[in-house]
Amino acid sequence: MITVLGRAYRFALVFLLIYLGIMAQQVGLVDYLSIPSNYAYMNALLWEHVYLVAVSMSFATAVGLIIGVVLTRRRFRKYTGVVMYVVGLGQTIPSLAVLALMMSLLGIGSKTAIFALFVYSVLPIARNTLAGISAVPPEMIEAAKGMGMPGWRILLDVEIPNAMQVMLTGFRVALVINIGTAALSYLVGAGGLGDMIFTGISLMKTEVLLAGAIPTTLLALFADYLCEILTLLLVSKGLRLEQQ
């Protein structure tokens, strides 16, 4: 029964792809993209999008990791509750509102967008780093201490590897949200694929709209997939076996 369903699922997928191709032709997406300048424009926007995401994510990862690690050190542990609360509050603020607020503070341009994306992505990374490291069983750390490991080796060899899964989940959430929010950064004048989406909506030109929306979606799905592979590479085998 399940194998039959699985096969039907694959057929459905193929049909869906063919149908989507036909539809792309019908709404004029194929014609639109076969004009070289349009294609080049889409490509440029795609790279702009990737640039926004890459810059903001690398800063966010660095800062988020530092915040998470520092707050789990014994000296700063008493602030953990407060910081978690603030982070949670920050995450409830809608992304469009964050962009709008940043715009009125910093004006328009890609710097504003990168800063807003950075602020929005730091939160899940910091939170998951904190949660992951706090969840490492204390007896493991005791054992490491008993073996004579100094603090930084306990962090690198015991705490971070054990927290890796949770940390990577945070990274993945941040990355996917970041890609979605970067599509809005067109509104603050930073370009990216949102350019085509918003232009397409306001001109009611389906082909322009899809030329922006499809690459954005694929980018997000691809990033999600990459994170899954990263999880396979970085999380130690023992932990993965334990889960199964």
């Binding site: 399940i2 539809m23 709404v27 509050l89 409830t92 603020i93 809608p94 992304s95 469009l96 509102a97 964050v98 709008a100 607020l101 715009m103 009125s104 996917v176 890609i179 979605g180 929010t181 599509a183 809005l184 509104l187 603050v188 949102g194 989406i197 918003f198 397409g200 909506i201 389906t206 709209l209 899809l210 922006g212 929306a213 499809i214 954005t216 979606t217 997000a220 799905l221 999600d224």
Partner: protein, 222 residues
């Protein structure tokens, strides 16, 4: 202070937009609950389906919201509903599925075996066990899922202003178009306050609805 003046001058419109926002989010969460909770319960009884359903919901969650609006536009415009509230509510329902289904599934899955066995031993039917034992124990976690969904939907509904769905995003959209700072700020602040308020209210509801026994258990666990 400009923001304050703007809000005072436009209080009727602000009220209307807030109401519109509440309406879109409320309706979508309601529909999403009606689909998500039963689906979450069903997949606890069919484990092999569980992973697939959750993965599918996860894919929708991964699609950026503005891109999803864009992708749905040509499909829905064949029914004459490409722009406006209908695509907004559909998108919000899709996005809410992951937190609602996942939390329902995890909550019912985690009801401890001895409790379920005791219910079975008392001669409860499957339906009674679900209604009297599993759902009451699972309700706080299901509600946490609804809370995530509601807060997320408030943010996405703001973006839906760009496809003509109305709501508080209209202030941000028109403010950016007209370079009208206090309008942008009013929109951003109202949406943020709204999201934070809903989050706080739902967390209060969550603790109010948690059965006393579970609260005591949690405290002792700590």
């Amino acid at each position: 202070m400009d923001v304050w003046n703007f809000l005072v001058d436009n209080w009727d419109r602000s009220l209307y937009l807030t109401w519109e926002h509440i309406w879109i989010v409320g309706l979508s969460v309601l529909i999403a609950t009606c689909i998500g909770v039963p689906l979450g319960i069903i997949i606890t009884k069919h484990e092999n389906l569980a992973k697939r359903v959750i993965n599918a919901a996860n894919v929708f969650m991964t699609i950026p919201s503005i891109a999803l609006f864009g992708l749905m536009l040509p499909i829905l415009s064949t029914f004459g509903q490409g722009l406006g509230k209908v695509p907004a509510v559909i998108a919000l329902v899709l996005y809410s599925q992951l937190p609602i289904i996942r939390n329902t599934y995890v909550a019912i899955h985690n009801v401890s075996n001895p409790v379920v066995n005791a219910a079975r031993g008392m001669g409860m039917t499957n339906w009674q066990r679900l209604k009297e034992v599993e759902i009451p124990i699972a309700v706080p976690v299901i509600l946490a899922g609804l809370r995530t969904a509601a807060v997320m939907n408030i943010g996405i509904a703001a973006i839906a202003a760009y496809i003509g769905a109305g709501g508080l995003g209209v202030y941000i959209q028109q403010g950016i178009d007209r370079v009208y700072e206090s309008m942008i700020l009013s929109g951003a602040l109202l949406v943020s306050v709204f999201a934070i308020l809903v989050d706080a209210l739902m967390s209060l509801l969550e603790s109010a609805i948690t059965p006393k026994g579970i609260k005591i258990q949690r405290k002792m666990g700590k």
